[in-house]
């Protein structure tokens, strides 16, 4: 794969209800990314967004966002998935040779709709939806139970991951203020309300309004824009069955396969030693571990060791604030910031190689992973 550079990005500061219209948020994010890279709207050749019709309460959810997103009279499309999938679409457009600058953004405002209820509409309407029992809580609870049983992990271990993430969030200036918990204890997590046995409230990320934008450029173009681009040197994407009953929920086979493809592309032979920092999109504190393990960063059942080392989700991951449609893109931007030494307050020293992941579906049905390398000096 030819190198594609990340040359700019911007995250709107998230909030439980930030009282901005989605258009104001998109404009702030897209304009912010352009300003960061010292570029103008006219330089963009394509704009790809991640939004969701059900979350936005209208079909073709991108059609209204064209102008705020800088796509007026330009090549434009969207994915109804995660921001990390929008980045993949933008990457393909750059790699086609037809585009010099791609703006990617993801946005959602869960203060304006009932996120957990809307997610029930993700259920297959024939077998699962009528019984009205399968949702984000139950799938997360069953996945955590499967993981604990398979690897002899305790609730305290998962609480430890939640504490780690929430403490990291306290160091991240762009974390949701309510998620910044510098003094949280394992005991507090274990005493928080049960959502779905054994998943507890403080192991489950808070949903928040937010928007993230990122700019991609082909190698030559990227080097004209900045001396220090972050290179995308590998990408992998695998989807597995919708029916969770077909799957072993204690692992993520699709992420394992996607990571295999991405590492081969990037020439990574031993991710355990070669990857300095990982920003992964888990739907619960437990799923962070499952995804990190599937990405080959530790042995299966040993994800907790990354928490001890401190190189998993230094930003706090989704536990620092979960914005539907933007999560995976935020992970890529956070990883890019690590590689450019810009992660204010939560920088991993000397990070040269990173991964970032995105997903959609119950228990991470569809996974995408990026291998990112520090460019320039």
């Amino acid at each position: 794969m030819d190198k594609v550079g990340i040359v700019g990005y911007y995250q709107v500061k998230p909030g439980l209800d930030i009282m901005m219209s989605p258009y104001e948020m998109i404009f702030e994010a897209v304009r912010g990314a352009l300003d960061y890279a010292d570029l103008k709207r006219k330089d963009l050749t394509t704009v790809i967004s991640a939004t969701n019709d059900y979350y936005d309460g209208k079909t073709i959810s991108n059609c209204f966002k064209v102008e705020a997103g800088g796509a007026y009279m330009k090549d434009e499309s969207k994915v109804e998935m995660d921001g990390a999938h929008a980045a993949m679409y933008g990457l393909f457009r750059i790699l086609s040779g037809n585009h010099k600058l791609a703006m990617i953004y993801g946005i959602s405002t869960p203060s304006c709709y009932q996120y957990e209820s809307v997610r029930v509409l993700e259920n297959d309407p024939t077998f699962d939806r009528p019984i009205n029992l399968l949702n984000s809580y139950t799938s997360g609870g069953m996945q955590m139970r499967a993981y604990m049983k398979a690897f002899g992990i305790s609730e305290e271990d998962i609480a430890k991951v939640a504490v780690y993430n929430l403490k990291n969030a306290a160091k991240n200036p762009l974390a949701l203020p309510e998620a910044k918990k510098a003094d949280i204890t394992i005991d507090e997590v274990l005493k928080s309300d049960i959502l779905s046995t054994p998943l507890r409230e403080l192991m489950y990320p808070m949903k928040c309004d937010g928007a993230t934008a990122m700019i991609l450029a082909p190698e030559r173009q990227a080097l004209k824009i900045t001396d220090n681009p972050v290179w995308i040197i590998g990408v992998g994407n695998v989807n597995e069955t919708y029916y969770l009953g077909d799957r072993d929920l204690s692992v993520s086979l699709s992420m394992e396969m996607a990571a295999g493809k991405a590492y081969e592309m990037a020439g990574i032979k031993d991710p355990k030693s070669e990857i300095d920092v990982a920003e992964v999109f888990g739907h619960t504190a437990c799923e962070d571990l499952i995804i990190a393990e599937a990405a080959g960063l530790t042995d299966k059942g040993k994800g907790i060791s990354m928490v001890d080392r401190g190189n998993l989700n230094p930003s706090g991951g989704t536990m620092a604030g979960y914005t539907p449609c933007a999560n995976g893109l935020t992970r890529i931007v956070e990883a890019a910031k690590q590689l450019r030494n810009e992660a204010e307050g939560h920088q991993i020293n000397g990070a040269k190689m990173a991964i970032a992941t995105g997903q959609v579906g119950f228990c991470a049905q569809n996974n995408v992973i990026y291998v990112l390398e520090r460019g320039g000096n």
């Binding site: 209820s117 949702n135 809580y137 139950t138 779905s196 998943l199 009953g245």
Partner: protein, 164 residues
């Protein structure tokens, strides 16, 4: 949801129907005869439940196969907190259940007189309980599972019955 004066309210109600074609057999047999049907791949013989019209692995046709009403819990949870769409059900047990003879697990409610995690452990034997014929409507809500040792008591309740 909390509304402020300047915020615009909306509610979308759209009617749908889902046509299952030949797959309707599962729901018709469930409603009329309390049968649980899976599909078996003609090539690799894998038994799928929920039934699939083709084997996802071989990409070949499948045939209908009747499955027993007994099975084993693969993984389960008890839910204590619900969002608006399902709050009326809290607390409830649900699990992925692999019926004997099936190769994949089906999602379904598991009810128990004593709803504790140990009753819904991996490996727990469960058996299907059906609504009475006049209340069955050809939907997944026509049946649920209970721990095998509670089955006799559940099917003796006036609103339920056992299968054959």
């Amino acid at each position: 949801m909390v509304f402020q004066e300047h915020q615009i309210r909306d509610k979308i109600l759209i009617e749908y129907k889902y046509t299952m074609g030949g797959q309707s057999k599962f729901f018709i047999e469930l409603m009329n005869n309390k049968k649980i049907l899976g599909t078996k791949c003609r090539k690799c013989k894998k038994v799928w439940l929920p039934p699939r019209i083709n084997c996802s692995e071989c990409y070949e046709d499948t045939d209908w196969i009747e499955l027993p009403h007994t099975g084993t819990i693969q993984v389960s949870t008890i839910v204590w907190y619900g969002a608006a769409a399902f709050i009326q059900n809290v607390p409830y047990g649900c699990a992925f259940i692999k019926l004997d003879k099936a190769d994949t697990a089906m999602f379904q409610g598991v009810f128990s007189e004593n709803l504790v995690p140990s009753k819904l452990k991996k490996g727990q034997r469960v058996k299907a309980v059906f609504k009475k014929k006049e209340n069955r409507e050809g939907k997944m809500t026509d049946f649920f599972f209970v721990p095998e040792d509670e089955w006799e008591r559940w099917i003796n309740k006036p609103e339920y019955e056992g299968g054959d």
